[in-house]
C-alpha cells in the first residue's frame, strides 16, 4: 500500500525533480486510489458467538480492526451483524474502543456506564433476531496506527451474534 506524505509546497527556485513529482503524483495519488481500510468478514463459524455478563466486553481479535492514519483524519466504522437474544426485553449496548483507551460513541476516555451508554441500543424478544447495522465516524483521529474493538454490554441474559450461518462484517475506512 502506498504511503501518504504531505504534498510538496513549491517555492520559487525549487527544481522540478522527478522524485518530487513521483512523491506527489505517484505515491499520494496511489494512496487516494487505495485508502487505508480494514474489513473483516465473519462467516460459517462453528457456532454463534455468545456474549454474557453485564459489563463492557470485547469479543476478541476477530472483532478488532486496525488502520494506519497518516495525519489527522476521520475513520468510518461500520458493523453489519445479525444478533439473537436469549431473553425477553433484552437490551444490549455497543461502542467502539480505540486503542483500548478512547470510547468513540461516548467520546470519552473513561469507561462508560455498564448500561444505557455507547453509540446506541439494540433490543429484542426471546429468540427473535435483530440486526446491528451501524455507521459511525471517529472524528479527528490523530496520526498513527489505531485499533478499534467492538464492545458490547447488556442488561441481562445473553446474546448470540449469529455468524454460524449468516455473514457478519466490520469495516474501518480512513477519510
Amino acid at each position: 500500500m502506498a504511503e501518504w506524505e504531505e504534498p510538496i509546497i513549491w517555492t520559487t527556485g525549487k527544481r522540478l525533480r522527478a522524485r518530487d513529482l513521483n512523491h506527489d503524483l505517484n505515491s499520494n495519488i496511489a494512496w487516494l486510489a487505495d485508502r487505508p481500510m480494514d474489513l473483516k468478514t465473519i462467516y460459517q463459524q462453528a457456532a454463534n458467538i455468545n456474549v454474557s455478563g453485564t459489563d463492557w466486553t470485547t469479543l476478541g481479535p476477530q472483532y478488532q480492526l486496525e488502520v494506519f492514519v497518516p495525519d489527522v483524519s476521520n475513520v468510518l466504522l461500520v458493523t453489519s451483524f445479525n444478533i439473537i437474544n436469549a431473553g425477553s426485553n433484552h437490551r444490549i449496548w455497543f461502542d467502539w474502543l480505540r486503542d483500548g483507551e478512547y470510547w468513540v460513541g461516548a467520546a470519552q476516555s473513561t469507561k462508560p456506564a455498564s448500561s444505557g451508554a455507547g453509540i446506541g441500543e439494540v433490543n429484542g424478544n426471546t429468540s427473535t433476531e435483530d440486526h446491528l447495522n451501524t455507521l459511525f465516524w471517529d472524528v479527528n483521529v490523530p496520526a498513527g496506527r489505531h485499533t478499534y474493538d467492538l464492545m458490547f454490554t447488556q442488561a441481562a441474559n445473553s446474546l448470540d451474534i449469529r455468524v454460524a450461518d449468516m455473514t457478519g462484517q466490520l469495516l474501518a475506512l480512513v477519510w
Binding site: 520559487t12 460513541g105 446506541g120 441500543e121 455507521l135
Partner: protein, 178 residues
Amino acid sequence: MPVTPASVWTTPITWADNTPMDEDTLNEQIGNNLRFLKRGHLKIVRMPAGADITTTSTTMALVDADAAVEMIVEHDTTLFVGCSIPYALNNTSATIIFDLYEVNSGVYLSSFSSTPAANGLYIGRVWTANTGRVFSGLIPAGNVTPGPYKYELHWRVTANTGTIQRASHPVMLWLWGM
C-alpha cells in the same frame, strides 16, 4: 513564498507546452487538490449533548435546530447523507418515521419533492416500550452540482411519543460527496 496548505478544490487546468509551471500553479493544481481529494466533500456533525428530544407530532417536523448538516459542494459529485440516530418509542404499536429535508431546494429525500413520502426514509418500532434502537443509514442524495446543501433531520410518529436518546447516546449526521 510557500502557500498555506488548503483543502480547497481548483478545477484542473489543461496543460499546454507553454503553460508556466510557477509555484502558485503547482501548489494549487497538485498540492491543494491532493489535500482536497484526501479529505474530500465530508462534513460530520455530532449534535451537542443535551436532554432527550421527544415528539408526539404525527406530521413531519424538524427534530431540532442542531439536527442539521450543511456543506458547500465545490465540484460535481454524488452526494450521500449519513446518520446515526438512537431512538425509542413508548409504545410497541407505534412507529417512528424519519426523513431528511434539503433546505435550499425545499425537498425531502424520501420523495425528492416538498411532500415527504408516507413512510419517510426510515420507519421503525421497538420490541418493548422505552427501549432503544438505532437508525443508521447512508442515503444517496443524487448527483449534485457545486453549491450549498443543507439537510435537516425531520420526524413524526404514528401515535404516542417518540424519543431521540440524545442524553445517553450520540446523534450524528454527515454529508459525503464521492
